[in-house]
């Protein structure tokens, strides 16, 4: 099975984000980065499928130069090679644009399976994987927790709500978005780290993908990105009046229907 794993680098979890003065984005140079959590699980899932059924695991990553570190980490864990799209000339937080570029890199590889994380820990749209499937014309399933290989496809367990699950069969090729926490992710071994430098990292420019600047221009997908800002705080206090029973009822109603805490 040839598996492509889409991996993104995101700021480490409890990073302090500082917004740029012009509200265009956050100051990235002050941040440390790590592999997006659910992408780790996607990679682990791919490595296990390869160990069980043979084949190849290819990492696909888009981002500035720094993301090569994430690629190395994936190769050190056991991926066979990587595709790297340097997006220095266009940065997009728009899942539609990203999926377009990723699809162009994936198509010529004709993989049996494409795995992506369920969502990214930074933008958290949860859209890239599923849009990518549409772009590639592949059947897809999201929030996948388990994969079983069948003779003519795969059977996957997906998470529904409130502890409910669903088993679905899909033909291959297919795309799955993987839930976090579904397996025990491995550490890169020192041997793996040393071997990683011998593995191929193929760098792709937009032109290699048959795309032009216009394809990835800001706003080309209809998404209009305006500014980044800290949610504005508004102070509001409400004093409930009446006898205790009445107040308790009002409070419960507000907690349930307005604050939606239960």
């Amino acid at each position: 099975m040839k598996i492509i794993v889409c991996m993104k680098q995101v700021p480490v979890k409890d990073s302090l984000l500082k917004i740029k003065d012009d509200n265009s984005w956050v100051h990235e140079d002050e941040l440390n980065y790590e592999i997006n959590e659910s992408d780790h699980y996607a990679l682990e899932t791919a490595l296990r499928l390869k160990e069980a059924h043979g084949g190849e695991v290819v990492i696909l990553t888009m981002g500035p130069e720094r993301v090569k570190e994430a690629i190395k980490q994936g190769l050190a864990k056991g991926a066979d090679r990587a595709l790297y799209i340097n997006n220095a000339d266009f940065t997009s937080i728009d899942p539609m644009t990203n999926a377009k570029v990723l699809a162009a890199a994936i198509s010529p590889e004709t993989p049996d399976l494409v795995l992506a994380g369920l969502q990214t820990d930074d933008n958290g749209s949860g859209q890239t994987g599923v849009i990518l499937a549409e772009n590639l014309g592949l059947p897809h399933t999201s929030i996948v927790m388990e994969i079983e290989k069948l003779d003519n496809g795969i059977k996957v367990k997906r998470e529904l709500e409130s502890g409910w699950f669903q088993w679905i069969e899909l033909p291959l090729p297919a795309l799955l978005t993987i839930q976090s926490g579904i397996n025990q992710i491995r550490y890169a071994t020192i041997k793996g780290i040393m071997m990683a430098k011998k593995k191929e990292v193929k760098e792709l420019a937009l032109s290699d993908l048959g795309l032009s600047g216009a394809d990835v221009a800001a706003g080309s997908t209809g998404l209009d990105f305006q500014k980044v800002y800290v949610p504005e705080k508004t102070k509001q206090a409400l004093i409930l009046e009446g006898d205790p029973k009445d107040v308790a009822e009002q409070l419960a109603d507000k907690l349930k229907n307005e604050a939606k805490v239960f």
């Binding site: 190395k72 071994t189 020192i190 041997k191």
Partner: protein, 388 residues
């Protein structure tokens, strides 16, 4: 809680991708596997031996050695590995130091082909554990006075004596034992099952509690000649092993210091006393934090440069002494200050600083006490030895 490492002088930018990746991998491993269980291990006074297979799998054993399944790290990566392990606990780092620098190194450097191919792969995978017996109850700083002797017999060597303070002693499958012979001090491999060999755990430690420390008793242990390390002749060879370990300790101490610093920066910013002000807002507290940051940064620079000298084959024992002496003392001072800033909370094992502080008392003593390294430097400066 996430660990916030110190990199005030951007030493990270001097590391290669591989070095950074190795450092980050060990850091992740320590956060996930060591920190959550270290408090229990420390309370119980037990080395968390279930970590050993993972050490082997990750390739943390064997350091800079290559071949025979050893990881073949460069000096910087080996140093970083020690730093990260000691960020977890000095006892955990001690296990790896002993296995790599004091057991695998002498077998790799002074052993026969048969000894190397038998033991190194097992030790590298964590399938066998080793210990290093040099110190005796009456001969610590002056191991040259050792009483343990090895007598040549027609069918091998007869070893008699007691070794004291031996890390990994009760866990070890193989002990590298230094003994006096007619031709001077020599190194031997004593296997656990050897008749007359016993290891007795030393209990009641208030330091390095998550490490196995033992007394080894060699009561007429007859070992075959093939268990003598052929090139391990003379006390100097034992000291060569110590130089390897001391190099790792100079790095390890930084890890312990960073753990304390991280803990106490977070704590002092959150802890409020007098007029709703965080204690971090007071000058006396800031002075301590500034001291910590300064000393960690200096220690990092010493360790990094020392590693480069090692990689270039130009490192000297006196240079290693300087870094071990400085970095361990400063780490201990940082741990003490951190403990102090944590107030009463600081005496609980909910916090790490006091554990590191207690551990570092051992680190200050073993592998050449602080004062012995002072004398090594004094010797280097003046040409006049002041040991006796």
């Amino acid at each position: 809680m996430n660990f916030h490492p110190v990199d005030f002088y951007e030493i990270d930018s001097l590391l290669s991708d591989e070095e950074r990746l190795i450092r980050n991998t060990v850091r992740e491993f320590v956060s996930a596997e060591v920190i959550p269980r270290i408090r229990g291990a420390y309370r119980a006074g037990e080395f968390p031996a279930d970590l050993v297979p993972a050490f082997g799998e990750l390739g943390l054993l064997g350091g800079t050695l290559s071949g025979y399944d050893c990881p073949g790290l460069n000096a910087v990566a080996y140093g970083l590995l020690n730093q990260e392990l000691e960020r977890g606990d000095s006892g955990v780092r001690s296990f790896v130091s002993v296995q790599s620098s004091l057991v695998m190194y002498p077998i790799h450097t002074f052993g026969s082909e048969q000894q190397k191919s038998k033991w190194l792969p097992l030790l590298a995978k964590g399938e066998a554990i080793g210990c290093f017996g040099l110190t005796e109850a009456d001969f610590g700083s002056n191991p040259g006075g050792m009483r343990t002797r090895a007598e040549k017999k027609s069918d091998g060597w007869l070893l008699t004596g007691n070794k004291m303070w031996i890390t990994n002693g009760t866990l070890a499958d193989i002990a590298v034992i230094w003994a006096r012979t007619a031709e001077g001090v020599q190194g031997f491999l004593v296997e656990k099952e050897t008749s007359g060999f016993t290891a007795k755990g030393i209990h009641g430690k208030l330091s390095l509690r998550a490490s196995d420390t033992a007394e080894l008793i060699l009561d007429n242990c007859l070992i075959p000649d093939e268990n003598r390390l052929p090139e391990a002749t003379g006390l100097k060879k034992a000291l060569m092993c110590l130089s390897q370990a001391r190099f790792g300790i100079a790095w390890g101490a930084i890890g312990a210091a960073m753990a304390c610093y991280d803990e106490v920066v977070e704590y002092t910013k959150g802890r409020v006393q007098f007029d709703d002000k965080p204690i971090a807002s007071h000058q006396l507290v800031q002075e301590k934090l500034a001291f910590m940051l300064t000393e960690i940064t200096k220690a990092q620079l010493l360790a990094f440069r020392l590693a480069k000298l090692k990689e270039q084959g130009r490192i000297t024992n006196a240079q290693i002494s300087l870094a071990k002496r400085n970095n361990v003392l400063q780490a201990l001072e940082i741990a003490r200050l951190a403990r102090q800033l944590l107030g009463a909370n600081g005496i609980l094992d909910d916090y790490q600083s006091m554990r590191h502080m207690c551990n570092l008392e051992t680190v200050l003593t073993y592998e050449g006490t602080h004062d012995i390294h002072t004398l090594i430097l004094g010797h280097e400066i003046t040409g006049l030895p002041a040991y006796s």
